[in-house]
């Protein structure tokens, strides 16, 4: 267990944040399977969900190794309690309508893209490899979601109204993407990965013109700050986990 003894807890925290954000967003997107606005889009959303769950599996496996307690991806996904999850709060919010789902995909994918781009330089070789793979996926997710954001923002009066409402709802949660925490500082100092605050300029630079083309008004920043990445969640995560963890909790010791 040399890897484990060398691991700073911040390192583990950093990886868990990424893992859980991909996992919970993948879980939310999987709710769409069979219910999309048109079959083509149903298939597309499922592809994105599959990418995210794939990322989560790699990251959780890596987190399990860093933790050094022998927990695998499934023990981490299905047997941790709500406050032990480290995902960004935005991904646990209910899907809302298709517009809200796609806008969240866009905001998160644009953030993930910046992050994956920065991580190949990580001192953690396993994380760097996962990032290189995930970057390709995030680029496609950004493309897919940003096209839709523009389409729906610009489309009809109704779609514009819905997209603006979705933006107003989701925007405050994006502050969490970049809020400074001790984990960031320690991870950056140990060259695990960039402090997330450092990604804000690039993210804003990418998102602003897309929202503009979509004719959506960017809301002002408010004092609201969600703290899912520190394990303090919204009311929604508990319900999500109730379903997600149902079988593992109901039939302990099963093999699946």
């Amino acid at each position: 267990m040399t890897a484990a003894t060398q691991t700073h807890p911040a390192h583990l925290e950093y990886v868990l944040r990424l893992a859980d954000t991909s996992l919970i967003l993948g879980q939310r997107l999987s709710e769409w399977c069979g219910h999309g606005p048109v079959i083509e889009e149903d298939i597309a959303l499922t592809n994105i969900a599959l990418d995210l769950i794939g990322q989560a599996r790699l990251l959780l496996t890596h987190a399990g190794a860093l933790e050094g307690r022998g927990r695998d991806e499934d023990q981490l996904a299905f047997l941790r309690r709500e406050p032990e999850f480290r995902n960004l709060t935005i991904v646990e919010l209910p899907n809302g309508d298709f517009g809200q789902t796609i806008l969240r995909n866009y905001l998160v994918a644009a953030w993930q893209r910046e992050l994956w781009q920065a991580l190949p330089g990580s001192g953690d070789a396993a994380l760097a490899a996962i990032a290189a793979k995930s970057l390709k996926e995030a680029r496609y997710h950004v493309q897919h979601a940003s096209d839709w954001v523009v389409r729906l923002g610009d489309g009809t009066d109704e779609s514009h109204r819905r997209m603006q409402a979705a933006l107003d709802l989701l925007w405050p949660y994006t502050a969490e993407f970049f809020s400074a925490t001790p984990v960031d500082e320690a991870a950056a100092a140990a060259s695990v990965g960039p402090a997330w605050a450092s990604l804000e300029a690039a993210w804003t630079g990418a998102v602003t013109p897309v929202l503009e083309v979509a004719t959506l008004a960017m809301p002002a920043r408010t004092p609201f700050l969600s703290r899912g990445k520190a394990g303090v969640h919204s009311e929604h995560l508990g319900h999500l986990l109730t379903g997600m963890q149902h079988l593992q909790r109901t039939y302990p010791g099963g093999t699946w």
Binding site: L23, Q27, S30, E31, C33, G34, H35, G36, P37, V38, I39, E40, E41, D42, I43, T46, N47, A49, L50, I53, G54, A56, R57, L60, E73, D74, A77, F78, D97, F98, G99, V150, R151, L152, D154, G155, T156, E158, S159, R162, G243, M244, H246, L247, Q248, Y251, G253, G254, T255, W256
Partner: protein
């Protein structure tokens, strides 16, 4: 899947009845088409075809497409609750495949000059049928395995002969579908094998699921040949190649040893090897249950349709906005040019 769908009466059916005066030219053409099909040649989209042939195809292909799409729902019921991340990914990919199958089949139907939206409307209004198997509920996780093993297994058996059906676009869609189906049955069986190696409670779940799905799976092959209404024309036109009862027997013969490997009991006390026939004998099918579900009185008929209608209605603003944006964009591009 789902030859069953073409053997059950539906409001659309009457329209397909032959009749009315035909011109000499049409009669000649029709003889030509029949001969072509008899020689094993394909009919392609723009070829002349008898109206009854076209209508039968539209009905069969669209009901097949509807079945794939509605079929996403019972398994979709367990995606968010899959017990491991690997199983979640497998199930997502599998259910997504079924969506793809629906899409390929709608496209094949569209080559016959119908619009997908009209076919979808026929489903939503209750005018078009889909396979009754999807009106049964998925009550425990083992249902996902049993659906893969038995329902996809039955579907594959139904579908393989369709890869050689006389209508080119349908046959090609079926080839693509059958290729993708190959993992569906295996993942289901693998899921069950894994659960059977688990706790006694897990084995009970598997047995419970098998008990509920076995008979409905046998019904998927449709009524007995003696009671099957559409088979004559369909077999002549090569859109159906093997009889319902022959396929059902083939299915039972394959499933019995698989059940034994799994270590579960098939819920039929009459199951017995018949040395003289070289096949497994099985008990009588409860056709009253079959017809009840077909006629709308299954556990989930209403829910399945309501789910599809809701997804479609909830998506209306999205589809409209996408069209509106595309039109605006075309105008803008024209101005810029």
């Amino acid at each position: 899947m789902y030859t069953q769908a073409m053997d059950i009466p539906s409001p659309e059916r009457d329209e397909t009845a032959r009749g009315g005066p035909r011109s000499v030219r049409e009669a000649e053409y029709e003889a030509e088409i029949d001969a072509k099909v008899a020689r094993g040649e394909f009919i392609e989209a723009k070829d002349w075809m008898p109206e009854a042939y076209r209508k039968t195809l539209v009905r069969q292909i669209s009901q097949h497409a509807h079945s794939e799409i509605v079929g996403m729902l019972p398994e979709g019921n367990w995606i968010t609750r899959a017990p491991t991340l690997k199983r979640k990914a497998i199930l997502l990919a599998k259910v997504q495949d079924e969506g793809g199958h629906g899409m390929y089949l709608y496209a094949a139907a569209e080559t016959l000059g119908v619009a997908r939206d009209d076919l979808v409307d026929a489903l939503h209004s209750g005018k078009a049928k889909y396979s009754s198997i999807f009106n049964y509920p998925t009550l425990n996780w083992a249902d996902i395995g049993v659906i893969g093993w038995l329902v996809d297994g039955a579907a594959i058996m139904n579908q393989i002969p369709l890869c050689r059906c006389s209508y080119g676009p349908y046959a090609r869609a079926m080839i693509r579908i059958c290729k993708e189906e190959s993992f569906h049955q295996r993942q289901g069986y693998d899921l069950l094998l894994t659960m059977m190696k688990g706790t006694p409670e897990q084995r009970d779940l598997v047995q419970d699921a098998v008990n509920r799905w076995w008979w409905p799976a046998l019904m998927m092959f449709g009524p007995h040949d003696s009671a099957s209404t559409h088979s004559g024309d369909s077999i002549k036109w090569g859109i159906k190649r093997i009889s319902n009862d022959d396929l059902r027997q083939k299915f039972v013969d394959a499933a019995v040893p698989q059940a034994r490997v799994l270590g579960i009991t098939l819920p039929d006390p009459a199951l017995k090897w018949n040395e003289a026939r070289g096949h497994w004998d099985f008990g009588p099918i409860d056709w009253s249950e079959f017809w009840n579900v077909v006629n709308g009185h299954g556990q989930c008929n209403r829910e399945r349709l309501a789910d599809r209608v809701q997804a479609w209605e909830d998506g209306a603003w999205v589809r409209e906005a996408a069209m509106a944006h595309a039109e605006k964009q075309r105008k803008r591009d024209r101005l810029a040019a």
